[in-house]
């Protein structure tokens, strides 16, 4: 029983100790803690009536990680304890426990030493010095908040006191003595007594205590007992960066988690991938669980980042298998804030930012453009035109569509608690104008979290979150012919307006899309999302070892889209109006039974059983009309007065029923085992309802072993390994049922005529779950009392029975069929290093580095060697066949196209002639080396000469976060980087070449081949034989980047300057510097949104902005 003895500091009054975890019924089960374990470990939730002190101590140990040491005989005099605290600080809890006890305690490191109250006579024996003075002061903690109950002791004596509710203390001490100030969760400080001056001290949070208890699926676990791989992001990690959404808060901060801003639009899209994409057709978005509710309709960015206490990202199967069919893409668990202090704490934040476009294409001047165009087609611009252009005129289309955007973000929250209840309320308002003209986003959100104790055994809690977001023209993720794409290809020599003041609708010589300025100023699209999350929780401690949690919740979205597509945007005049209302509702009902008991002091067993039911449905109605007398004057408000009216409605519904079991077992606090099993029944797979998802994991806390501890190197050393199966059911309902859709045509008349076409002629009745098997080995290391932490994981994820949209040949009707074929593998490494290199009174420096590298590989496609990309083609005028392919042996996101070899020079005239080409024409690799379609000896470059030319996946990504505090000045420097990913830059290609959708060249760096200028990049302008292929290596650009994502400097105004509320002001910059060789608006964006197959395509996407933000934060 002496196995923890070496932990004991060499204190003279400590004798042989004993841990108390024997045959003791634990009062608090893990699931109970889940309801409140949102905070740091110094908080305790505990209810007991006439409980033995050992029992109470055991519970405190469980929750805080602190250990009690005492002589057993001491407890013979112990009184039973009555206590009811919720999320209370440890000192206060200890104060209650020791209130009537004949002994006291002292905290040394992580040990609470219990000792007898010194007899009064001893005090009398002490000499009272004659130069005693009254010393007073104030102790504060994080963000300058007063620390109530902090211990202030005179070093080397037993004299001490604690601070009051406002953090103030008074103590009698001699000059020259040293005060030791300590508080749980903070580094202790020693301050010499220099006389009568007040001692005001701000304590620094102790690194080792941050996030000791973590939320896992259907419960909580001590971080030290974890066997799975997870990454945590806490609010303090991003508090110095003004973040408008949750994904910005996660970006670059967790190993194995890739967050990509696919659109820079206000309220725009982000993509999250945890350890790479597994699925080609079933979706790769992680599951989002907020306070126990698995979201089904809302996006992670619907959540207010300021409401978040912390985020856990479950990565390996040991952690995610408990979510079974929804866990294959990883799970993000969000815990929102709860009130913690008796005194309400109010936090007000205001962020105001100015954003600007971060990149501008270098395009030809109007006159240079006109001259180059004349080289290709003489006479396009007359001498008169040229003379005028030399005087001025023309248009900088990029300048005409971009502007400075303004971000305003106001947040307020208040949280507090009483003896039986706690509360947290928050409100937020965002108003953002985008860097593209005529785009904006506004959002209003409120949250309420309330918990109350009905009886000593029953807790009830309700969380409600309601938000309304309204985007205006912010949905364009990038596509052919939108304003961004057109702005780089419309002729710089052209004007916005005709001489008569009307818009110049068509570029007479260049781009064939419509005028970008006319498009962007005349679009009208509202995207309104009303969303709500309501969760109710009941926690019922049936026995001390058995707890039932019932969680019922819904998340719902009411979406409205109102759109007027002006005649300036749509290819079909006279423009159209559209309106859609959609509902989405996700319901969950979970019943969690948790058993927790420690047997023979060394067997710590937790068993969890869950029955759960989820229901998801969506439906909606939309209507549109084109033209008519009321259009566009009445916008979409009077669709009945338009022509060509069309209505449609949609519906989908799916159910999931699940049974879950989990065993967590810890032997001697060293050897850890976790096993889970989940059975999911889904309505989406009519012939294969049930899927089964097992996992096992083991861990070994080496740092608990003597032979490791004797090394005196590791403060934490754990190895762990896991294996498990998760699933993916991310397909739309009814996908297995062949269906017919009804469309409308006219056959020349004005009355609509219905026609019925095959929508899903090849529904696969035997469709089933996609299954991902993950194996993970990891190690967690802590050094220097955990001031330096390292966590590394190697993983192999194999996904089989891929849900795959398999292409159907055109002669079979074309399109695709969703079916289960093939396998994909992801192998990789996650690495997270964090440390506190400097931690002194005036300076602290926290640094965290994460590194992720994985290799994705398609192992099989169930027969065929490849399938075509999901975007069939970019557009006939640009790329007629898909530029991406999923190929066995290659990663998802592989570009498949022509290998550009340069330009045929005059010395190669003979070789060029074999292809019917001339010097000055583009040269592509002839892979098949020379037969035409009929087998003749006729060298030709055709589809069979395409090869793998690149990949959109990075080799590795990393993020580096530095937080430096110097006295009252705080600096945050956050860098993120991606290495080795390619982007097919179609915007650039369209500007630099003449293809279907762009007849002229606008890019400034093009210097066409001539016999004199032997360019090896740019073909001759006058050649009639030159063939441009946009799906070629020529337009594939290295999009590696290192980006200064955030730099902020904040100043906390000391209370010596402003009394009362601590105020922090800061200025920060986002995306200030990007080092990249990518020649486009933004190396982060993707015009294909969430797609993994067509990952890196730059085609008119809304670029990210460079933003300067001014923030004001008041906290009292």
């Amino acid at each position: 029983m002496d196995f923890k003895a070496f932990f004991i500091p060499p204190q003279r009054d400590l004798i042989k100790t004993l841990r108390i975890m024997k045959l003791t019924t634990l009062l608090v089960c893990a699931a109970f803690v889940q309801a409140s374990a949102s905070g740091y470990s110094q908080n305790v939730t505990l209810t007991a009536r006439r409980a033995p002190l050992e029992t109470v101590f055991s519970s405190i140990e469980k929750q805080t990680g602190y250990t009690f040491y005492y002589k057993t005989e001491l407890f013979e005099q112990a009184k039973k304890v009555n206590i009811a605290v919720k999320n209370e600080r440890l000192p206060k809890v200890l104060a209650i426990c020791f209130a009537e006890q004949p002994f006291t305690y002292e905290i040394i490191g992580k040990t609470i030493v219990v000792k007898p109250v010194p007899p009064a006579t001893e005090l009398k024996e002490e000499t009272i010095p004659d130069n005693l003075a009254e010393i007073s002061g104030k102790i504060t903690g994080v963000e300058g908040a007063p620390l109530s109950g902090a211990s202030v002791a005179i070093k080397g004596t037993k004299t001490g006191t604690s601070t009051d509710a406002e953090g103030r203390f008074t103590i009698s001490a001699q000059k020259g003595q040293v005060l030791v100030i300590s508080f749980i969760g903070y580094e202790s400080r020693e301050v010499p007594v220099n006389g009568g001056t007040p001692i005001n001290i701000q304590l620094v949070a102790s690194a080792e205590l941050q996030g000791d208890v973590v939320v896992v699926g259907y419960g909580v676990q001590k971080k030290t007992d974890l066997t799975g791989s997870l990454a945590s992001v806490s609010v303090k990690d991003f508090k110095d960066q003004p973040v408008l959404d949750v994904t910005s808060a996660l970006q670059g901060r967790a190993a194995g988690v890739d967050v990509t801003n696919v659109s820079g639009a206000p309220g725009g899209y982000t993509k999250i991938r945890i350890r790479g994409a597994n699925s080609i057709g079933g979706g790769n978005d992680p599951l989002l669980v907020i306070d126990g509710l698995q979201l089904g309709t809302l996006n992670i960015n619907d959540i207010n980042p300021d409401d978040i206490e912390n985020v856990e990202i479950l990565k390996d199967a040991s952690a995610t298998a408990i979510y079974g069919s929804r866990g294959a893409n990883g799970v993000i668990l969000i815990t929102t804030k709860q009130g913690k202090t008796e005194k309400p704490r109010i936090n007000l934040t205001s962020n105001t930012g100015i954003s600007n476009r971060a990149y501008k294409y270098d395009l030809l001047s109007p006159i240079a453009y006109a001259e180059l165009t004349n080289q290709a087609t003489p006479g396009t611009y007359s001498e008169d035109d040229l003379a005028k252009l030399r005087q001025g005129g023309g248009t900088d289309w990029q300048d005409e569509i971009f502007r400075s955007g303004l971000n305003q973000d106001y947040q307020a929250n208040v949280g507090g608690r009483s003896a039986r209840s706690s509360y947290f309320f928050s409100g937020r308002y965002i108003n953002q104008t985008g860097i593209l003209k005529n785009s904006e986003f506004r959002k209003f959100a409120v949250r309420m979290n309330v918990e109350t104790k009905l009886t000593n055994r029953i807790n009830l809690g309700v969380s409600a979150f309601v938000a309304r977001g309204k985007g205006f023209n912010n949905q364009d993720q990038g596509n052919l012919s939108n304003a961004v794409q057109q702005s780089v290809i419309w002729g710089p020599a052209e004007s916005i307006f005709n001489p008569d003041g009307s818009y110049q609708l068509f570029d007479p010589h260049g781009a064939i899309g419509k005028n970008p300025v006319a498009q962007i100023l005349n679009n009208y699209q509202n995207n309104i999302q009303n969303s709500g999350i309501i969760t109710g929780k009941l926690n019922y401690r049936i026995f001390d070892f058995l707890t039932l949690d019932v969680i019922g919740g819904i998340d719902a979205g009411l979406q409205e889209t109102d759109q007027v597509t002006s005649k300036y945007s749509a290819f079909g005049t006279p423009g159209s109006a559209f309106r859609n209302y959609g509902n989405a509702l996700n319901m969950q009902w979970s019943n969690i039974l948790t058993f927790h008991k420690v047997f023979n002091t060394i067997h710590d067993l937790t068993v969890t059983g869950v029955y759960e039911q989820q229901k998801n449905n969506y439906d909606g109605t939309s209507a549109n009309g084109a033209g008519g007398s009321a259009f566009p004057a009445l916008l979409y408000y009077s669709l009945q007065s338009t022509n060509g009216q069309q209505i449609s409605s949609y519906y989908g519904m799916s159910n999931l029923r699940s049974y879950v079991g989990r065993i967590n077992y810890a032997l001697m606090n060293k050897y850890l085992l976790t096993a889970t099993y989940r059975a999911d029944g889904s309505s989406k797979f009519p012939n294969n309802h049930w899927g089964y998802f097992p996992s096992v994991a083991a861990g070994w806390k080496l740092s608990e072993e003597e032979f490791i501890r004797d090394l005196n190197v590791f403060s934490n050393f754990k190895v762990r390994g896991s294996w498990g199966v998760t699933g993916n059911q991310g397909v739309t309902p009814f996908v297995t049922i062949p269906g017919i859709l009804i469309g409308q045509t006219t056959q020349g008349g004005s009355a609509p005529i219905n026609y019925a076409y095959i929508n899903n002629g090849y529904g696969d009745q035997n469709l089933k779950w996609e299954q991902t098997t993950t194996t993970d080995v990891g190690v967690d290391l802590g050094f220097f009392q955990n001031r330096l932490n390292l966590s590394a994981d190697y993983f192999v994820k194999k996904t089989k029975d891929l849900l795959l949209q398999v292409a159907i040949p055109a002669y079979e009707g074309g399109g695709t069929k969703l079916t289960n074929v093939g396998q994909v593998q992801n192998k990789g490494l996650d690495l997270q290093i964090s440390g506190v290199p400097v931690n002194t009174k005036n300076v602290t420096w926290n640094v965290a580095l994460n590194f992720t590298s994985y290799r994705n590989k398609v192992l099989s496609l169930g027969g065929p060697e490849f399938i075509e990309g999901t975007t069939n083609a970019i557009g006939n005028g640009i790329i007629p066949s898909p530029p991406t392919r999923v190929i066995v042996g290659q990663p998802i996101g592989t570009y498949f196209g022509y290998n550009f070899l340069g330009i045929y020079q005059e010395s190669e005239a003979d070789e060029a002639a074999r292809y019917g080409l001339s010097p000055g024409d583009s040269k592509y690799q002839d892979v098949t080396n020379g037969k035409d379609a009929s087998g003749n000896e006729l060298p030709a470059i055709d589809g069979s000469d395409r090869v793998v030319i690149g990949n959109a996946l990075p080799d590795y990504t990393w993020g580096l976060n530095n937080s430096i505090r110097f006295k009252d000045l705080e600096i945050n420097l956050f860098i993120m980087a991606s290495q080795g990913n390619d982007i097919l830059n179609i915007d650039y290609a369209a500007a630099a070449t003449r293809i279907g959708d762009s007849r002229t060249i606008t890019a400034a760096d093009v210097v066409p081949w001539t016999p004199e200028n032997k360019s090896n990049i740019w073909p001759s302008l006058t050649s009639s034989s030159n063939q441009e292929r946009i799906a070629s290596s020529k337009w594939l650009q290295d999009a590696s980047f290192v980006r200064l994502k955030n730099l902020s400097v904040g100043y906390r105004i000391p209370s010596s300057i402003i009394r009362g509320a601590p105020i922090k002001i800061s200025v920060s910059g986002q995306n200030l510097i990007t080092l990249t060789s990518f020649k486009g608006f933004d190396p982060e964006i993707s015009s294909r949104g969430n797609s993994d197959v067509d990952n890196g395509i730059a085609l008119g996407a809304y670029p990210s902005a460079r933003t300067i933000t001014f923030s004001l934060n008041v906290n009292f």
């Binding site: 159907i808 006939n876 055709d942």
Partner: protein, 504 residues
């Protein structure tokens, strides 16, 4: 140490068990059939065909799919191998240029569009043919719908085999996808085309619905007119089944004899053929595809811009070959066919002749594919004339001459067209072959510019592509090589070759 054990039951504990029991009851009492799908919004083919309207909807779909192919300039583009059309030598017209120069890549987007849309039309027809029995519609309605399906499937295969030769032959609807379908021999394809048209002839209504636009929906006459065209094609390359001339002549004659009841006539003035005023009333149309641009996705993009000069905001997708233009007989027909004055200044409306150095292309353009009401929009509502009665007459003249010698009726047929064009009658006493050659030339002038009877199809079925291409003006876009028979057919699009390498 006092602790609770299982022996310590009291009333409170019993109460707890009651609560627990209630909860367990709730858990188990949930809906049994929760995992059953209820696809309220999915209309299955069987349900569709089980309704009276369903069969009509499916029939309309077939016409809609067929119309897709002709709704943009690809329908002219794939004819650019003919000697009447050529493409922009530079700019962005690579797809058109490839076809014109006999350097067609299998990644060519225009050929892919035609291929895909024809097969979608075939799939729509196959679906109807496999399910129509479910329909409660009357026999008359069923016959018309089934006849329409056969009719358009024949047209789609006819388009495919004339451009690609051997193509995969899919003649029934199945949910099993065949990735190994071989190319069928051309004769096999024609067997299906002929049998489809014969069934259409048998099942379709006797006469057209006079309340509808001319040629909007097929009837017996339409099927006969196309049978004549198909037989004539079969008589030439590659099948060279010369006995089909007689079949063709007989079918064409049936149409000509019934022209009155079918509602067909040759418009007296050639300029009336392509005017907006006649867009919905043109009685020369045997089969027409009708569009309406004011309804989303219902417009016709082949009309306003592709054949307009860029000087006027057009797209330059194709223009006239100089040699062909120069050989084109002067007169009303030439004036109606070509745009020869190019407007070079939108403000002053200054126009110059096509060869003026101020123009960008220095070529005449095809007026017949422009839009006389709406010149500046992407979309128009112009009707696509898939077959004109003029073609029936010319099919007859050629078939009659080749089967039976050029008699008066054959002369009469061709001269009707020549007279309308303002040309003198054909010299009499020509040999059958000489007469045929005159008709082929006549067809060239009449259908120039990529009209569906197509100069290109005439040149390959008569195996004269090489000879006519040799007349190309040296200043026109140079060919990659002089064509041979190997250039008669297009490569199968890369997307399907990728999925089924047997199609390469």
């Amino acid at each position: 140490m006092a602790m609770k054990t299982f022996n310590d039951f009291n009333m409170n504990d019993m109460k707890k068990y009651c609560y627990l029991a209630v909860l367990i009851f709730l858990i188990l009492g949930c809906k049994r059939d929760a995992l059953k799908e209820d696809p309220r919004n999915v209309l299955s083919p069987d349900v569709l065909f089980g309704t009276t309207e369903g069969l009509e909807y499916a029939t309309t779909n077939i016409i809609t799919q067929f119309s897709e192919m002709y709704a943009n300039s690809q329908c002219v583009g794939i004819m650019e191998m003919g000697d009447d059309l050529t493409a922009h030598p530079a700019s962005n017209k690579q797809d058109f240029r490839e076809i014109d120069r006999f350097a067609v890549s299998d990644a060519n987007a225009r050929i892919q569009g035609v291929w895909t849309e024809m097969y979608q039309c075939i799939q729509a027809s196959n679906l109807l043919l496999s399910k129509y029995q479910l329909s409660p519609a009357s026999q008359d309605v069923k016959d018309r719908c089934v006849g329409t399906a056969h009719f358009f499937r024949a047209l789609a295969y006819s388009n495919l085999t004339r451009s690609w030769g051997k193509v995969p032959l899919v003649d029934s609807f199945s949910t099993n996808i065949n990735y190994n379908t071989p190319k069928a021999e051309v004769a096999e394809v024609y067997k299906l085309i002929v049998s489809d048209l014969q069934k259409a002839e048998e099942l379709l209504p006797e006469t057209p619905n006079t309340n509808e636009y001319p040629g909007l929906k097929p009837f017996k006459g339409t099927a006969r007119a196309f049978l004549a065209q198909v037989y004539l094609t079969m008589a030439g390359w590659p099948l060279n089944q010369t006995d089909h001339y007689a079949l063709s002549a007989a079918k064409a004659k049936e149409v000509i004899d019934n022209a009155g009841s079918y509602g067909y006539e040759i418009l007296p003035e050639i300029t009336d053929l392509w005017t907006w005023a006649n867009n919905y009333t043109n009685k020369e149309i045997v089969l027409g595809l009708y569009y309406n641009k004011t309804v989303a996705s219902n417009g016709n993009m082949a009309a306003p811009l592709p054949s307009q000069p860029e000087d006027e905001g057009g797209w330059f997708d194709y223009w006239a070959e100089l040699s062909f233009f120069n050989r084109f007989p002067e007169g009303k027909r030439k004036d109606a066919t070509f745009q020869t004055m190019i407007q070079i200044d939108a403000t002053t409306h200054d126009s110059v002749p096509w060869h003026d150095s101020k123009t960008l292309a220095r070529h005449p353009f095809f007026k017949k594919y422009q839009d006389d009401v709406d010149r500046h929009d992407w979309w128009g509502s112009r009707t696509q004339q898939i077959m004109r009665y003029a073609e029936v007459l010319l099919n007859y003249a050629e078939a009659k001459a080749m089967s039976d010698g050029p008699d008066a009726s054959a002369y009469d047929a061709v001269n009707t067209i020549r007279r309308r064009a303002g040309d003198p009658d054909l010299v009499s006493g020509l040999s059958a072959v000489a007469f045929r050659d005159s008709v082929i030339a006549e067809r060239g002038w009449e259908f120039a510019g990529g009209e569906p009877p197509s100069r290109f199809y005439d040149l390959i079925r008569t195996e004269t592509l090489e000879q006519e291409t040799a007349k190309r003006d040296p200043t026109d876009l140079p060919l990659q090589h002089q064509p041979t028979h190997a250039d008669y057919w297009l490569p199968v699009p890369i997307t399907d070759v990728s999925l089924n390498p047997a199609l390469k």
